[in-house]
Amino acid sequence: MTVSGIPSTEGNLGDCNGKENSVCARDSGVFTHRSVRKIYSSSLPKHTVQNELQLEGVWRVVVLNDPVNLMSYVVLVFKKVIGFDEPTARKHMLEVHEGGRSVVWVGLRERAEAYVFTLQQWHLTAVLESDEAH
């Protein structure tokens, strides 16, 4: 499914340092969602089936409003993390500010988790929602 203005497969996370498939949460590459999931997966094989089921389907990355973060900061984060251009970032920021929430990305679970992780690293309140719930 697609949502207007929302990238479903493109974005900044996959472009870190020009390495395909690297999911980068920081320039250094030290702090990554992928490293969290990799460590977790390798240490806990009994959860493999459950994890695979959880990773299926389409997921939404939703950013919720908070009264603290500046509008300019939220726009910056959307540009940096999701890869929005200025008008799109501003549109989603206003959705968050006025409507309390905005869907900023739609796609597979693991990549959605990476976006949520990075948005949380920037201290935005981001959640994952299953598309099937809507």
Partner: protein, 153 residues
Amino acid sequence: MKRIEVKLSLPVVAPLLDVIRELGNGLRERLAAPLTLTDLDEEFRDAWVAELLVAQSGDVELLLALFDGEFFTEGVVAFDEENAEMIVRACAAVRLRVREHFLLPLGDEALETGEVDMLKFAEPVRKAFMCYLFLATVQELIIQHLDASILES
């Protein structure tokens, strides 16, 4: 390398640093924003939080280091392409904690609009609100002047 130097008023800023340091130190152990993912396995969630905490601690440490001994002699802080991203994030983290610790009585609407009658509140709340505004100003400065550096990094 693009660099901004900001001369701050020591008598105004120095009293705020105790609040920033105290809350900043607390951020080594606790996330600034609530973790809202409810469907994560407990152990995966722990790993997720631990990774976020490492990043958050590094950011806050850099922010606190801005206000070291040299700051107290010159009153100058400098932002550049190297530290802008981490500082702007650290400011967000500390501002979230300032709200949680001190500013809840003000109400979220007042915080968002900035229309706060500070005379109604006790000294610790007034000081915390000053910190909150000061850190927002730092963020605005960085975003205004180093936005491109952050996006390109």
